[in-house]
C-alpha cells in the first residue's frame, strides 16, 4: 500500500511502486484531469503539483509520491471559487481544444508562486508544456493578467 494525498484527500493504493502517478490517478482513482500526451515527460499534459512543485506525472513512479501532497487541476479551485490563474485563463479565452490546459495552468500556478511578477524569460523557462493548438500568446497574457491581480 502506498499512501499519499490527492487534492487534500488521503489516498491509499495497492499498485506496483513503479507505476507512474499519471496512471494511478487516471485508471485507479478516476481523476482524469492529468492527461496522457506522450508518456515520456516531453509534452507536459500530465502536469500535477507534488508538494507545490510541477511534476510530469507520466514519468513519476508512485513510490516517489509516497507521503506527499498531489494537486491536480480538479483540486485547484476552492469549491466554486476559481483560482486567479483559472479566472485569467477564462478572461483571456486561452484554451482552444483545452487538452493541455490543465497542465499549463498548474505550471503557471507554480511559476507565480515562485515569481509573483515573472519576466518574459522566466515565463519562457517555466512554461515548457506543449500546446498543439498554439495558444501560447494567450498563455503568456493570462499569466501576466494573473500576476497583476495578485500583486
Amino acid at each position: 500500500m502506498i499512501r499519499f494525498t490527492v487534492n487534500a484527500r488521503p489516498r491509499e493504493v495497492d499498485v506496483e511502486p513503479e507505476m507512474p502517478l499519471l496512471w494511478v490517478l487516471r485508471d485507479e482513482l478516476d481523476i482524469k484531469g492529468p492527461k496522457y500526451g506522450c508518456g515520456v515527460g516531453q509534452c507536459g499534459a500530465c502536469t500535477v503539483l507534488v508538494d507545490g512543485e510541477p511534476a510530469r506525472s507520466c514519468t513519476l513512479p508512485l513510490s516517489k509520491v509516497a507521503g506527499r501532497r498531489v494537486l491536480t487541476i480538479e483540486g485547484l479551485a476552492q469549491g466554486e471559487r476559481l483560482h486567479p490563474v483559472q479566472q485569467a485563463w477564462i478572461d483571456q479565452q486561452v484554451p482552444q481544444c483545452g487538452y493541455c490546459q490543465g497542465g499549463q495552468i498548474l505550471a503557471a500556478v507554480a511559476l507565480l508562486r515562485k515569481h509573483p511578477s515573472p519576466s518574459d524569460r522566466q515565463i519562457d523557462e517555466a512554461m515548457t508544456n506543449l500546446c498543439r493548438c498554439g495558444t501560447y500568446a494567450r498563455v503568456r497574457s493570462a499569466i501576466r493578467a494573473a500576476a497583476k491581480k495578485k500583486t
Binding site: 487516471r26 482524469k32 492527461k35 485563463w89 479565452q93 486561452v94 482552444q96 481544444c97 483545452g98 487538452y99
Partner: protein
C-alpha cells in the same frame, strides 16, 4: 440506450458543463421547437450543434448564429451535440456532421440562421394564437414575446410546447448584419470554463463501470501483417493483464489499467511481415515523385489558358524552380482513443471525432450490426487538425470490444503509435517555369505538381486558382500515389501550395528587381480580394519604411477556404539561427461571427505553420516511420512563439472559413524574408534540413 451506457453518458456529458445534458433522443418532443432549438419551461434554450468542436470554437459561433435569429437571452443558452443515431432516424435532419475544411460556419451559416429565425416565428405565432392577436403585432426580444397594443408579455419557455406543434415556416426573413447583437461579438466560448477546472472529459477520459483498457501495437509497415507472436511471455505473471488479442494488422493487450497493458505489450515478442512495403524509404518515395517529371509521363491538366510553349519561347527571361514539401503528422495532443461496448447487437462508442457520422458508420461496420443499433456518444475533442476524420482507431476499438463481448474497453494509442500510424499530409514535388517580359512581369506560368490524389483539385489548390494576371497558364497534377497512408491535415494542400506559389512569385519579383509587395499588387486584378489583406498587413508591418539594421521582411498572400490572408514576417538571421521578431497576419473571412475566436484561430494557425516550416517531417526507413516522439517530431514551444499581430479586415458579403486560413501565408512570408536575410532561397521543407533553427 442501455442503462449502463446511459448512465455513463450522463457522467461524460455532465462533465461538459454545458448545462442540461440528456441524450438527444430523449429530448425530442420535450420543448423541441425544431431540430436545432429546444426551449425548456425554465427558459433554458438548448441549441444543437451537429459538427464537432475540437478547439476551433465553432460550437460557440454556430450557437451565436442560431441565438441571433432566435432573439433569446444568451445567458440561457446551452449547447448540446446532435446525436448521430437520431440523425439516422430523422433522415439527416442536421445535415453534414463533419468538421473539416473550415466549413462549419462557411457552409452551415444559412441553415443555422434559418433554424433560429424559424423557431422565433413559431414561438411568436404560438403566443399570438394564445392571445388571439395577429402575430405581426407581436415582437420578440431576449426570450420574451410582447404584444404592444395590449401590453401583454410572455416568455419563450411558456409557449415552447405550443410552438412545437405549429408548422415550421418555409421561408423566414434573416436579419441584416447591421442588426446583429450576438453574432459578430466576441462572446466567451461556452466550453472553456470546464476546461480550466479539469471537468472536461475528452474521449480518452471516458470511464465506464467494469471498463478495461487496451494498448495496441500495429504493424509498423503499411499493409503488413502479424507473422508470429510469443504471447506467453507477456501474459505470464503480469499483474492485471487479462487478454492478448492478435487482430491481424495489430495486437491488443487488455488489462485493468492502461499502463499495465502498455507494459505487457512492450514485453511481447512480435514479428511482423512487412510484405510489399518492407523496404519503403524516403529516398524511394522521393524518386517516385521525381518520375512524374520524366518525358511522356501522364498528368492531368487542371488549368490551361493561352499558349504556354509560345509564350515561354518569346519570354525575355525564363525562371525555373523545384519546390518540395514533406509528409507531416497531425500530432494532436490527445492521442487516438476509442471506448466501446458491444453487447446484444448494440454498439456504444465514446471517441473524439471530427465526424460523428463517419464514426457511426465505422462502428457499425466493425461490429457487424445495423447502424440503427449504434450510439456514438460525442465528447470534447483534444485537437484533431484532420486526423479524426479517419476512423481507424474507432474500428479497432469496436473490434476489440466485440471480442470482449460486452465488457467496456478503452483503447488508447501511445504517442509513438500515433506518429507512426497517422494518415499523413502528403509529400509533394512541384516544378515551375515562368516567363517574364522586358518589364519583369510574368506572361506565362507552367507548373506540374507530383502528389497523391487526395481529392479532386486538392493537389493544385492555390496554383490552378492562382489570382495573378498571367496570360498563359498550364497547371498539371501528376498523380503519384504511394503506400504511405494519407489524409487531410489542417489546410490540406493550402498548407503547402501557398509556400510554393508565393516563394516562386518572390523569385520572379527578385528576377525583375521589383519590390515583392508592389510586384504582387501590380499583378492582382483590381477586384482581387487579395489586395486588401496585402495592403493591411504591409501597412501594419511598416513595409514602406526600411526595417531596422539586420532585420528583413517577407510577404505572402493566399486564399484559403473562401477567406483571404496575407502575412508579413520580420526576422533577423545569425549563423542559421532565425529570430522571428514578429508576424503580422491580415485575414478577410468576409463575415466574422466571433472576432476573438477568429483571432485565436489565426494565432494558433501561425504556431501550427511554424512547427511545420521549421521542423515538420515524417520520414520512412526500412518500411517504417522514423519519428516516434516530440523529440524527433518537434512542435513549437511557448518560448519560440513570436509576437503575432492579427488584423481582421472583414469585407462582408461572403462567409469564409477561419480554421485553416490563418497559418497559410506564414511559411512563404518567413521563407521570403530568409532569402533577403541570407541570400538563400529555400525550396524544400522543413527548414531544419538546410540547417536553420528558431532562436
Amino acid at each position: 440506450m442501455s442503462a449502463l451506457s446511459r448512465r455513463s453518458f450522463l457522467k461524460t456529458a455532465g462533465a461538459l458543463g454545458l448545462g442540461l445534458h440528456l441524450p438527444a433522443r430523449a429530448q425530442a418532443g420535450r420543448g423541441e421547437v425544431n431540430a436545432w432549438v429546444m426551449v425548456l419551461p425554465n427558459e433554458l434554450v438548448i441549441i444543437r450543434y451537429a459538427r464537432s468542436e475540437m478547439g476551433q470554437g465553432s460550437m460557440t459561433a454556430a450557437a451565436q448564429l442560431v441565438a441571433e435569429e432566435l432573439d433569446c437571452d444568451w445567458k440561457n443558452v446551452r449547447v448540446d451535440y446532435a446525436d448521430s443515431n437520431e440523425q439516422l432516424r430523422r433522415k439527416g435532419v442536421w445535415g453534414p456532421m463533419s468538421s473539416s475544411g473550415s466549413r462549419t460556419i462557411r457552409e452551415s451559416h444559412e441553415v443555422l440562421r434559418n433554424a433560429g429565425a424559424a423557431a422565433r416565428e413559431m414561438l411568436v405565432a404560438a403566443a399570438a394564437q394564445g392571445w388571439g392577436v395577429a402575430a405581426a403585432e407581436c415582437r420578440a426580444a431576449g426570450g420574451v414575446i410582447a404584444h404592444a397594443p395590449s401590453g401583454r408579455r410572455i416568455t419563450y419557455g411558456r409557449v415552447a410546447a405550443a410552438a412545437a406543434k405549429l408548422p415550421v415556416p418555409k421561408q423566414v426573413a434573416l436579419k441584416a448584419q447591421a442588426d446583429w447583437k450576438l453574432a459578430g461579438k466576441p462572446l466567451a466560448r461556452v466550453d472553456i470554463p470546464d476546461m480550466v477546472t479539469g471537468r472536461t472529459r475528452y474521449g480518452i477520459d471516458t470511464q465506464l463501470p467494469g471498463m478495461v483498457y487496451a494498448a495496441i501495437a500495429q504493424c509498423p509497415v503499411p499493409g503488413g501483417r502479424l507473422k508470429s507472436l510469443d504471447e506467453a511471455a507477456a501474459a505470464r505473471g503480469r499483474r492485471g493483464v487479462l487478454r492478448v488479442l492478435p487482430m491481424g494488422e495489430f495486437i491488443a493487450v487488455i488489462a485493468d489499467n492502461w499502463w499495465r497493458a502498455a507494459q505487457a505489450l512492450r514485453a511481447l515478442k512480435i514479428e511482423w511481415d512487412g510484405g510489399a512495403n518492407a523496404s519503403l524509404s524516403s529516398a524511394a518515395l522521393r524518386r517516385e515523385l521525381e518520375q512524374a517529371f520524366e518525358p511522356d509521363t501522364a498528368a492531368s491538366v487542371v488549368k490551361s489558358e493561352g499558349d504556354v510553349e509560345k509564350a515561354l519561347a518569346q519570354a525575355a527571361r525564363v525562371v525555373e524552380a523545384e519546390y518540395a514539401t514533406p509528409f507531416l503528422a497531425h500530432a494532436a495532443l490527445e492521442p487516438p482513443s476509442c471506448t466501446a461496448v458491444v453487447k446484444d447487437g448494440q454498439v456504444d462508442v465514446w471517441t473524439s471525432t471530427q465526424d460523428a457520422e463517419a464514426t457511426h458508420a465505422a462502428a457499425a461496420a466493425a461490429a457487424g450490426v445495423a447502424p440503427e443499433n449504434v450510439y456514438v456518444h460525442r465528447t470534447p475533442v483534444g485537437g484533431a487538425f484532420g486526423r479524426r476524420l479517419a476512423q481507424d482507431y474507432t474500428a479497432q476499438g469496436v473490434a476489440i470490444a466485440k471480442a470482449l463481448n460486452g465488457i467496456p474497453v478503452n483503447l488508447i494509442w501511445t504517442r509513438e503509435e500515433d506518429l507512426q500510424h497517422d494518415q499523413y499530409r502528403p509529400a509533394s514535388l512541384a516544378r515551375l517555369k515562368a516567363g517574364i517580359d522586358e518589364a519583369g512581369n510574368p506572361v506565362v506560368l507552367q507548373c506540374r505538381v507530383a502528389a497523391p490524389a487526395l481529392k479532386d483539385l486538392e493537389a493544385t489548390a492555390a496554383l490552378a486558382d492562382q489570382p495573378y494576371a498571367i496570360a498563359n497558364l498550364r497547371i498539371e497534377h501528376a498523380v503519384r500515389n504511394s503506400a504511405v497512408p494519407i489524409g487531410y491535415w489542417r489546410g490540406a494542400a493550402h498548407s503547402q501550395n501557398p509556400f510554393v506559389r508565393e516563394c516562386f512569385i518572390d523569385e520572379l519579383a527578385n528576377a525583375a528587381k521589383r519590390d515583392p509587395l508592389d510586384y504582387r499588387l501590380g499583378l492582382l486584378p483590381a477586384t482581387a480580394r487579395e489586395r486588401a489583406v496585402l495592403e493591411a498587413a504591409a501597412k501594419a508591418a511598416g513595409w514602406r519604411t526600411a526595417p531596422a539594421q539586420g532585420l528583413h521582411r517577407g510577404i505572402a498572400v493566399t486564399e484559403v477556404r473562401g477567406s483571404y490572408t496575407a502575412a508579413v514576417a520580420e526576422l533577423s538571421l545569425r549563423e542559421k539561427k532565425v529570430e522571428l521578431k514578429r508576424l503580422v497576419i491580415a485575414l478577410d473571412p468576409g463575415r466574422v461571427v466571433n472576432p476573438d475566436n477568429v483571432v485565436a484561430q489565426v494565432q494558433g494557425g501561425a504556431a501550427f505553420a511554424l512547427s511545420a516550416l521549421f521542423w515538420g517531417e515524417v520520414t520512412y526507413k526500412d518500411g517504417r516511420v522514423e519519428q516516434s516522439s516530440f523529440a524527433d517530431y518537434r512542435v513549437l514551444a511557448l518560448a519560440e512563439m513570436p509576437p503575432v499581430e492579427v488584423l481582421l479586415v472583414p469585407s462582408g458579403g461572403f462567409w469564409g472559413g477561419v480554421g485553416e486560413a490563418g497559418g497559410a501565408a506564414v511559411a512563404p512570408a518567413v521563407a521570403n524574408a530568409l532569402f533577403l536575410a541570407g541570400g538563400e532561397r529555400i525550396r524544400s521543407l522543413p527548414l531544419k534540413k538546410a540547417g536553420f533553427d528558431l532562436s
